[in-house]
Amino acid sequence: MEVDLPVHNEYDASRFHQVTIRDPIAGADSTFTIPTRYVNLSFLNAGAQGTVVMADDLVTTQRVAIKKMQQPFVMTMSAKRAYREFILLTTIKHPNIIRLLNAFTPDTSLSTFREVYLVMELMTHNLHEVIHRLRLDHKTLSFFVYQSLCAIKHLHNSGVIHRDLKPSNIVVNDRCVLKVLDFGLARKKNVDTSMRMSDYVVTRYYRAPEVILGLPYSEKVDIWSVGCIFAEMINHTVLFPGKDRIDQWTKIYSVLGTPDDHFISQLGQSAAMYVRSLPRHQARAFSEIVPDTNFLPETENPRVHLTPHVARDLLFNMLKINPEERYSVEDALNHPYVKLWFKDDEVNAPASENRYDQEIDFADKTLIEWKELIFNEVQRYQADHDIFTG
């Protein structure tokens, strides 16, 4: 009677079943209420956003990943993030972006709404792991860069800047297909930069200079991130492992050289003064930054421009401190090092309809309002899809 908490609401037992999964790390149980099509659940991971399991989908006979977003409405930040992720996942479709296979909630009304489940493709490795375990041959290297570029080009075309690209946000499978996941910080382009959206937006190591220095930024921040990841795939070590903001900048300019005054003068006056006061550095040669010895020489293929020299040229242009000089996605995709993979349907996939309204980012909604937004979106998804047999 006075029973407290974890009693779950009623659910449609004819179409859903409950499976309790033990999180071996936290030693806690988590109950999944999911359509009966999903069986053989096993724990994958638990994070702040919820628990992820893998499961067999009896309908498609696929292995899938199911993420339970546990009460994404406990705080506005996570609710906002959950909402954003949900909208982007349901609308953006591209071979190099993680695909949502299904989404549902067993809860039938807003008042009982507690859980959202996302069913996604299951990918086998994330790039972070691959980078640190595998020395990649030229082909794979360039293919990964190509696919990353395709993904961000598509995001940009759909009006979204990812802003948080990093190896652990990119997954690959054993067939070398690469996909970007996690839109947590993705934001529509052309946002009023007076908000200056915080220089915290990109995980520090992959953060573009303009973000660190507080300049307005564009989609080229994603190119910078891909450049850093590219270098990391070659060197197996983080290119600019900054310990804090100042250190991040120090790492960058001590490798790439102090930028010219034209660039610095775009900074705020005090920031410019600080940057100018720092010791000046000459740019190091790229042959030193990513030396030949870090490539697999026997995998070179000059005929298709897969050589360290060409790779460095691409990298050089992606890692320009000044975003104006930095390659655009299109430039990068046309670079010889990746051009050989060019397929029009990947590069120029039609922009996804993006219902995500960036205004929402700035909206100061209450938790209840976020909850309702998410609930409505899930309902809408369920109405549009056959979540049980589709």
């Binding site: 006075e2 915080s198 293929n301």
Partner: protein, 657 residues
Amino acid sequence: MTVLDTVTISTCGLAALIREAPDTTLVVDCRGFTEYNESHVRHSMNAFFSKLIRRRLFENKLDDNCLIHQLMSCSSGCTKMDEKLDLVLYAEEDKPRGNKRRIASCNAPESTAKIMRVLRERLEDTDKFRSVMVLEGGFKQFAQQYPQLCESSEGMTRLPQSLSQPCLSQPTGDGITLITPNIYLGSQIDSLDETMLDALDISVVINLSMTCPKSVCIKEDKNFMRIPVNDSYQEKLSPYFPMAYEFLEKCRRAGKKCLIHCLAGISRSPTLAISYIMRYMKMGSDDAYRYVKERRPSISPNFNFMGQLLEYENVLIKDHVLDYNQASRPHRHMDYYGPSDLCPPKVPKSASSNCVFPGSTHDESSPSSPSVSEGSAASEPETSSSAASSSSTASAPPSMPSTSEQGTSSGTVNVNGKRNMTMDLGLPHRPKALGLPSRIGTSVAELPSPSTELSRLSFNGPEAIAPSTPILNFTNPCFNSPIIPVASSSREVILTLPTPAASSSSSTSSEPSFDFSSFESSSSSSIVVENPFFASTEVPAGSSSISTPSGSQSTPASASSSAASRCRMKGFFKVFSKKAPASTSTPASSTPGTSRAARPECLRSSGIIISAPVLAITEEEDAESPESGFNEPEVGEEDDDSVSICSTSSLEIPCHQ
């Protein structure tokens, strides 16, 4: 079943809140005082435990104000901001721990849930909070799962510095950190932690924010200073340095301890602390930055603030507080960009530049003179300032009276001439909000600085949140793809490639690879993919290459033990760098070929596995990302080997092309 209406939060949810949004989360421990002291959720406050309060709660004799007062024990100013706060209540789970309950033992176990429910409803009804939730599972479960997010009060009182935190170096910053014997740095959540503030005997607070609520420990307005700045690249913080210095000095002389805080304690408040250290300890901005950074590693002022510290350094040099030699990077900007950059362009009064001139001429003509004044000044800022002021008084006074705020601070100023000097620092003056906290607090309904808020997310959150992490755990299923038998030489491997014992469904993955003309062959010639499963079952012990368990190098050419050792290595597959002498010498490398390479379609043959220890992995995420991937599924037993391979291979999903 009214209970169902209770908004609850899972232990995991609370952990996320504490890590990601400590500044907008208020955790209230409703257990007894003793239990609380023993251990509690980090930064939680203890309230609502007294019998009296509980009785009055049930008798409905507590009005909203009393409730709120219980929470924000003293400050009235903060109630305005409460709607930004998520409130989480917790107590003990009902069941077993009755024996341990001492002070709160008056409550029958089953009433705890009731109390919590009533309390939650009441608090929610006040409409003062963004949300009010009760922790599922109670404190015990939370403590089991997240011991690192719990702390005890005892450590606190004993070791003020180390109380910062037992565990996390990252997410919530560093907690309250001691900078000088009387100055602490902290975040908003720290400023609301009454217990800790009490324990540290902090009675004075400087709040660098537009909107953060006034700290709970403030009893009198004179002990509170608000500096209304945002953590942005436009904000001017330096105009407040002199005023804050006065305030801190006053506080120091009175033997009081002061907390300087902003939202996260990462950018704004450290900047102010650095400015104080520069002047008080006579350090250049770089040294002062390091000084504070050592004590509070999480600081990361934005570049705009760093620039202002540098400007301030120049001002202090001109005013002989700092020696010319102490300049962090002595006037290089002057060399490179000309003197105009030295002074903030907004230097308002000519008088201040009057003040500057004598100093700077001294600096240049006779470097000794500043050091003389410095020498006489010695360590105490007061004396130093009086000495310095004596040198500048002649020119300074005319400018002094012009600014209004001086009046406020001048009361304390008289003791030493330094005040005058600081006022002369040549920085633009802005309206100051000293003593007007509540008004400011109420007037602006602004979001907390997104930057600092997001910092938590981006530094720590995403890794935890990203669905990528889970995927990490997943073992490599690549194994049901065709298996490449390891033959006696790597060259033979190439030859045998096209005869995969193409096992399962995913044979597709490798098929294309055989089409690779020059390209693939070149790479495969140099790389042997060894599948232990396959090898153990089919390959005769004649193969020349054996991978070491650690992975990368094919070393022992000794054949006999190879099969066995291969089995033992249990990796699904080991790819090792060719260069078994034979293959090296005959680089099949650029064999004939097409000009267009086939796409790589098999990750395992797309490179060389690096044995883990070789890499110094620097990435932060490493701490969190579960060790996984290629090695993890390795099991000890040979038999298990095949088992694990089978089982993992079944995990493979046909991945969309």
